[in-house]
């Protein structure tokens, strides 16, 4: 149940592109054609599914405060979390290099069609963002980390597929000249993000219900003056 919830949450509610704006550069640059968008999206799913669990292990057994206690009691005080950026990016760069070698060996046609975008995955913010969110949201087990990686990857894939399809159609539309290309893509992405916000209400059932009710009552008591303002503040704090 926990896995299913996290899976759908990372696809729809915390969608990499629409909720946190990660991986926007390649999202905008590679979304002109559906076929290349699909290739890149698949590669992102794959890399996220590998790097997030790997970095989870790294975080759990090397980087967290007290993580080194498996080496012996005298190492229990060490806190290496300041190294996490450099360790995570090293894992990601290595994995991308490996994926590149494997793809080149076993499927040269896919390798050629992805071209420059494969090495560029190393600097795709969505990949590092996946690992950093995994760390800051304190995901509990290796299995959940894998689910989170795959889910975020699928979310990114969906987003780039949707925008690529829209951009293929919009070529025949009468867009104001100054807005053509990049401008209209930004605005469409914004509108899609507003649409995706409606998924926020998807996971309110289950045991969270009681606490939810408490907070809404509190908000209503406090919010006699300006309901929207306070609702927004709570949203941001989340």
């Amino acid at each position: 149940m926990e896995h299913i919830e996290l899976f759908f949450k990372s696809i729809f509610i915390d969608n990499m592109v629409f909720a946190t704006f990660l991986g926007m550069c390649s999202y905008l640059a590679v979304s002109k054609k559906v076929s290349t968008a699909v290739g890149l999206g698949a590669a992102v799913i794959f890399v996220l599914a590998i790097t997030v669990p790997l970095n989870w292990l790294l975080d759990q057994y090397v980087l967290q405060p007290g993580a080194l206690s498996w080496l012996g009691a005298e190492y229990a005080d060490y806190d290496l979390s300041f190294l996490s950026f450099i360790m995570f990016i090293a894992t990601i760069a290595t994995m991308v290099q490996l994926v590149e070698i494997v793809v080149e060996k076993f499927s040269p046609s896919l390798y050629n069609s992805l071209g420059i975008f494969l090495p560029l995955i190393a600097v795709n913010c969505a990949i590092l963002g996946g690992s950093l969110f995994m760390q800051s949201r304190e995901i509990a087990t290796l299995g959940l980390a894998t689910t989170y990686g795959i889910g975020s990857g699928i979310g990114w894939f969906l987003a780039i597929l949707a925008i690529a399809a829209i951009r293929e159609k919009i070529r025949y539309s009468n867009v104001p000249p100054a807005l053509r290309g990049l401008g209209i893509t930004f605005i469409i992405t914004g509108l899609m993000a507003i649409g995706f916000m409606s998924f926020g209400g998807m996971l309110t059932g289950g045991d969270e219900e009681e606490t939810k009710e408490d907070t809404t009552v509190e908000v209503q008591v406090n919010a006699t003056e300006d309901n929207i303002e306070i609702a927004n503040n709570t949203k941001i704090e989340e």
Binding site: F18, A19, T20, F21, L22, G23, M24, C25, L28, A29, F82, L83, S84, F85, I86, I89, A90, A93, P119, A122, V123, N124, C125, A126, I127, L128, G129, L132, F133, S136, P176, P177, A178, L179, R180, G181, L182, G183, I184, T185, F186, I187, T189, G190, L191, A193, I194, M197, E225, D226, I228, E229, A231, N232, K235, I236
Partner: protein, 214 residues
């Protein structure tokens, strides 16, 4: 021009408008948009990028003749990651609240495409001084967009600038609020950042039609 030759000045001036990293080169959008709900966060983010890009460009430029081209991406990532760790620790020490607001986005400066893009396109082929100017110029171009977006989102979204109320008090109904003005809470939500940037692009390309695509 005095201090800078004409060619050097162009390195700073071009990225500010006609070759802006965000609106024209489409780089560095990832971390830029999510933190622009407040002007203060935008400014701090801009300063961090200014530091990382300025120093990083000089470091890469100094090392450009000794980096083997096959492993240059990893070398570049290590340089950026080191600088970003410095920024992150400084923020945590002196502006802890703000570093909480920025959360993972400080770390994401590492994968900011502007930085890798400038290393690849400029610092690997130019001397340290010119690379420094190029880094500063591009970081300022990034900062301009961030600050414009942050300004409008904070002003229209919560009626404040840098946390100071400028449109009056929404609860006691003074200033503009006395005439029935309401804060547009929608501006604080993330999708509006995209739409604001879209509008900036629209304005910029209407003024300079040479930039229009297709």
């Amino acid at each position: 021009m005095g201090l800078l030759s004409k060619k050097d000045a162009a390195l700073i001036k071009d990225p500010l408008a006609d070759n802006n990293p965000i609106t024209i080169q489409v780089l560095g959008i990832c971390s830029a948009l999510a933190i622009t709900a407040e002007l203060e966060a935008s400014i701090v983010m801009s300063i961090s990028v200014l530091f990382v890009l300025g120093v990083g460009n000089v470091v890469i430029s100094l090392m450009r003749n000794i980096i083997p081209s096959k492993i240059r991406i990893i070398v570049q990532l290590i340089v950026v990651a080191t600088l970003v760790i410095i920024v992150d620790l400084v923020l945590k020490a002196f502006a802890y609240e703000l570093s909480k607001t920025l959360s993972v986005f400080v770390g994401l400066i590492i994968t900011n495409c502007i930085i890798m893009g400038r290393f690849e396109a400029f610092a690997l082929g130019n001397g340290p001084w010119r690379s420094f100017l190029d880094g500063i110029g591009n970081a300022l171009g990034y900062a301009v967009i961030l600050i414009i977006v942050g300004f409008f989102r904070e002003l229209l979204g919560s009626g404040t600038l840098l946390g100071i109320p400028v449109l009056g008090d929404p609860i006691e109904k003074t200033g503009l609020y006395a005439f029935g003005y309401e804060n547009n809470g929608f501006m604080l939500l993330s999708p509006m950042a995209l739409i604001v940037v879209g509008i900036i692009i629209w304005v910029q390309r209407s003024r300079n039609t040479a930039l229009v695509e297709d």
